[in-house]
Each structure stands twice: as C-alpha cells, then as structure tokens.
C-alpha cells in the first residue's frame, strides 16, 4: 500500500475506505469505537462480495461446470490466504466455521467429547468471553468434566504462578483467550503453551480480539488450536476459522453430519472425508469466505505491524487523556494490551455514559461484554468500553473526552 495510508505519529489514514463511516449518527458524524464487538467493512470487502455474487457464484465442491469450479477455486484460495495469514503449516489445518463461538463449540463437542472422560480437567481463566466458558460448561453437564480457572491480577493480567499450580494428571486442555475483549490485555501465548506442553496438555487460543491487532504466528506460538471470526477482522459475519494441528484434526470425529463432509454414504455405513472437509458439513457461507479473503488482503496491504503501531498510538493517547479525567478508572492496566479500553466513571453508570456518547455520534459498548466472571472479579456490574479499528483517529479521542466531560456535567 502507498505511503498515504500512514499519517504522522504512526496513525493510519484509511478512514475513506469505509463507506458506512461517511454518514451521521444522531445528526453528528459517526465515530465508531466498537470494533472489539465487530469491525466495519472497507469498500474492498463490500465490492469483493458484490463482485463474487455478480460474476462467480455457484455452490462449491459440487458442480461439474465452470462457475462452480471458479467458486471452489476462490473458496480454497481463501483457505490458503488464512494459512499464510496465521503462518500455519498446511491448508488442511484451516477449517471454516461460522465464527469463533462455533469453532470453540466444535472443539468442545468433537475433540472434547471424543477424548475427555468424567473428572478430566479443562483450564480456563477469569477473563474469558462467555463463548469460551459456556461450551465447556455444556461438556461439564454432558460428561462431568471439571473446569479449573486461572485468576486474574488486579492489573488484569493472568496470574501465571496460579496457572502453573492448576495442572494435574487429569488436565486435558488449556483454553484461553489470546487477548481480553474487556481490558485488551494480551496473554503471553508462547509461555502459556510451553508450560502446558511441559505437562503434555494441548492449548486452544481464542483469537477473536487479537487477530485484528497483532501478528499471529501459530507455529511460533506452537498452540494446538487457534480460532477467530471474520467479522472482527474487517470481513463479513458468518465465517470464522478453526486452526488445528493436522494430527489433532485428523483424529477428531465430525462435529456435524451432512453433505460435503463424507466419502460414501449408505444407511448401514458412512465414511467421512478427511479434514478440513470433515468439519464443513453443508453448504458453507461461500460469499462470506470470499469476503474474508478480501479482508485479509486489505489487512495485509496495510500491514499488521502498522495496524498494531496505530492501535498503540491511540491506546497511549487515551491512557494519557483519561488520566486527567477525575473519577475515571481504567479497568486492567497490565501491558501489553490491544487498543481496547474499559473504564468506569464515579457516579455515572456505563449505560448512561454510552447514551450520552451515542447522542454525540460516538458508538461505544457498555455492559458486561459477555464476560460476567471478569466483572465479578473487579466487583463492577459493567464497564464502558472503547475499542479501535484502523479507521479511528486522534480526533475521535478528543470527541470521546469531551463527551465524557459532558456526561459528568449532566449526570453528577
């Protein structure tokens, strides 16, 4: 990408790529600060999907005709693009799912149910999103596994000493978020994996947040599973990725049955395709997969390192500016962290903060962020959260600071 994408001070200049941001929210220019929930889509992704439906669409892996071949080629090219993006070893290690949640459920129901026994233990942490808690809770109900939880420090980091103490002969999996969707704190993935592997325990990382901000190299981390969603990475909803080491995926039974995942079917005996097709039953969200490819191209063109620098520039700016607002407390100051900042204001509930900001054209998230155990940990019912994408600017932070001051004047 040309030099125009970078402004001074490590700031990106790609706002114009996002048509949705060229409009107003409650009569004011939109300032979108909820990318941790879902990112907006650049024109390049929107056009790729439109172009695909206009020129190349047909079902994949089915038709003996040119359109289907073309569609299949683009679909499988995306698998290669994902493999390269996360530095996997082989395309067979990339399974398309419907999202992060779907991928974790797949691992729980396929890997978990086929290898765990009652009394076996899974290690999670206090900072997990509900999507990395509830699938394991379901397994607990279904087969009596035991959930162990790594505590989080006051600064919002994993208590690594406590983590090491949680292993036992029954530990069968470590399933952790790569970075918190509430505090943005990035977990030491390689160290976590090394410790688990020393106990011969595989590791799953929930990369829903990390994937859009930092370089992910699954071979360098050496994790066994890595999952993420397309829609938090400037791609469409409905598509996610499960990375799994080939030996694990090959040994796992299918998650769902249907077309596309079989070798032969009869009423007495069905044999399954090998991975990744084994896990992709039914017609997948083909156009969303194509859109994901465009999103990866978009991110690659900017450069994930540039995105991280931009993110850190904005993060430092927010931390600096927020320090001057009396009664404001940031939840989770541990470093390193992504550009995801949760805060609480004395005497103003996060919902009211969010409504005042909304009125000023600023979209943020307020609530428990699907992380009720972490809210409990910090003894707060909710936080207000701002989170950055490539389109955010320093001016957005000025607007947030002004709106927070307005909320304080209005409500205290």
């Amino acid at each position: 990408m040309n030099a125009a994408i970078m402004k001074n001070n490590a700031q990106l200049n790609v706002y114009a790529d996002f048509p949705i941001l060229q409009q107003h929210n409650r009569g004011k220019p939109i300032i979108y600060l909820d990318s941790a929930s879902s990112t907006q889509k650049p024109q390049q992704v929107i056009e790729a999907i439109t172009h695909f439906y206009s020129h190349d669409y047909a079902n994949i892996h089915r038709g003996m005709y040119e359109l289907s071949e073309r569609s299949t080629t683009f679909y499988e090219e995306t698998r290669t693009a994902v493999k390269n993006f996360i530095h996997a070893n082989h395309t067979d290690e990339i399974v398309f799912t419907h999202g992060t949640t779907d991928a974790i459920n797949l691992i729980a129901q396929s890997y978990g149910r086929s290898t765990f026994q009652a009394g076996d233990e899974v290690i999670l942490s206090e900072m997990e999103h509900h999507s990395n808690i509830v699938p394991w809770y379901l397994l607990k109900e279904q087969m009596g596994i035991v959930i162990k939880v790594i505590p989080v420090t006051d600064a919002g980091a994993l208590d690594m000493d406590a983590y090491q103490q949680l292993f036992s002969r029954r530990t069968k999996l470590v399933a952790l978020t790569h970075a918190s969707n509430v505090t943005g704190v990035i977990n030491p993935a390689k160290e976590i994996t090394d410790i688990a592997h020393a106990h011969h325990v595989p590791v799953l990382f929930d990369g829903a947040q990390a994937i859009a901000h930092i370089l992910v190299d699954v071979q360098a981390i050496d994790c066994d599973f890595y999952v993420f969603s397309g829609h938090k990475l400037y791609g469409p909803t409905g598509v996610g990725v499960l990375y799994g080491k080939q030996s694990l995926l090959e040994a796992m039974p299918p998650y769902q049955g249907g077309g596309g995942m079989i070798e032969t079917v009869s009423f007495s005996k069905t044999t399954f395709a090998s991975s990744p097709q084994k896990f992709e039953a039914g017609t997948p969200p083909i156009a969303s997969v194509i859109g994901l490819q465009a999103a990866l191209q978009y991110v690659n063109a900017i450069g994930i390192e540039n995105i991280f620098s931009h993110d850190q520039f904005l993060l430092n700016n927010v931390e600096h500016r927020f320090a001057d607002i009396s009664g404001l407390r940031i939840i989770g100051l541990a470093k390193p962290k992504l550009g995801v900042i949760s805060f609480v204001l004395d005497d103003v509930h996060p919902h009211d903060v969010s409504t005042v900001l909304d009125h000023e054209g600023i979209a943020i998230r307020a609530g428990h962020h699907c992380a009720m155990p972490l809210m409990e940990r910090f003894r707060i019912p909710a936080t207000a959260r701002i989170s950055f994408g490539v389109y955010n600017t320093q001016q957005d932070i000025d607007a947030v600071v002004n709106a927070i001051q307005l909320a304080k004047r209005l409500l205290t």
Binding site: D347, H349, H351, D352, T355, H368, A382, L410
Partner: protein
C-alpha cells in the same frame, strides 16, 4: 431530542437519591429482576395486605434511568391494588415505547424521552417487570430479555 429531554432533573435526582431504597423486613412478596444486557440487578420487596401494596422497597444498582424508574415506581404504587398496578404498568409501557401519555401519568411522564432510545426501554421497565412478577408470586427470577 436533547439529552436533557431524556435526563430530566427529576430522573437525575431519583437516580442519585432513590426513594424507598433498602430491605423491607415486613415484606411478604419479593422478587429478583435481571437485565442480562447490562448485568443490572434489582430486588423488590413488597408488603401486601388484602390485595393492596402497603409498602414497597428495592435494592440494586443500575443506570440513572433504571434506578429513577424503580424509585418513582415505588412512590406511585403505594396504596394501589394489584389491578391498579397492572393498569399503570400498561400505561407506563405505552409511555416509554410510544413517547406519549395514554392517561395523565403525573411525575412518571418524565420517562417519555426513553422512547427515543429503544435500547433503554429495558432499563426503564426492569423494576416494573420485577414488581409484576413479585405480585403474581412467581418464584423464579425474571429478566427483561
């Protein structure tokens, strides 16, 4: 629609200094309400005699809208029968979703601005749903979802 239309002085006052806050030891009905959207929780205590709400208190934390709504609801419900409450509940729901008064709502009319922010209707009605559940003596906790 200005923010002041939503956050009127009386809402801010009741949000900061809620009336009828605390545990009611004489309560013969109580109920817990949740708003899973934001994690807010409210507990309502009611002392009822011959179908009339004689006393009512609440506990919990929440946004200015939900606390003010709980506070003003407790003020307006004392001395009312279950039937009168149900009528008021319907009128209040109409107010916060349609933005106008079907009947004279008195002080409660200040919540009309909530209708401009549909996502906040759940905040404004949490206490009301919880009271409704308390009075029909449903033993389960309720949620606005």
């Amino acid at each position: 629609m200005s923010l002041r239309d939503l956050y009127q002085e009386m809402i801010i006052d009741h949000g900061k200094n809620p009336r009828n806050k605390g545990i009611l030891s004489s309560a013969n009905h109580s109920h817990i309400g949740h708003n899973p959207l934001c994690g807010d929780k409210i507990v309502l205590y009611v002392f009822e005699q011959n179908g009339v709400v004689r006393d009512i208190r609440f506990e919990g934390v929440g946004c200015a809208i939900s606390v003010a709504s709980a506070s003003l609801m407790t003020e307006s419900i004392k001395g009312k029968t279950f039937g009168e409450f149900e009528k008021l509940f319907d009128d209040f729901h109409h107010l916060v979703t349609q933005g106008n008064e079907k009947v004279d709502m008195g002080k409660l009319a200040i919540f009309a601005g909530v209708s401009e922010f549909p996502i906040r209707v759940k905040c404004a009605t949490l206490a009301w749903h919880t009271l409704k559940a308390a009075l029909v003596d449903d033993s389960k906790s309720i949620s606005t979802e």
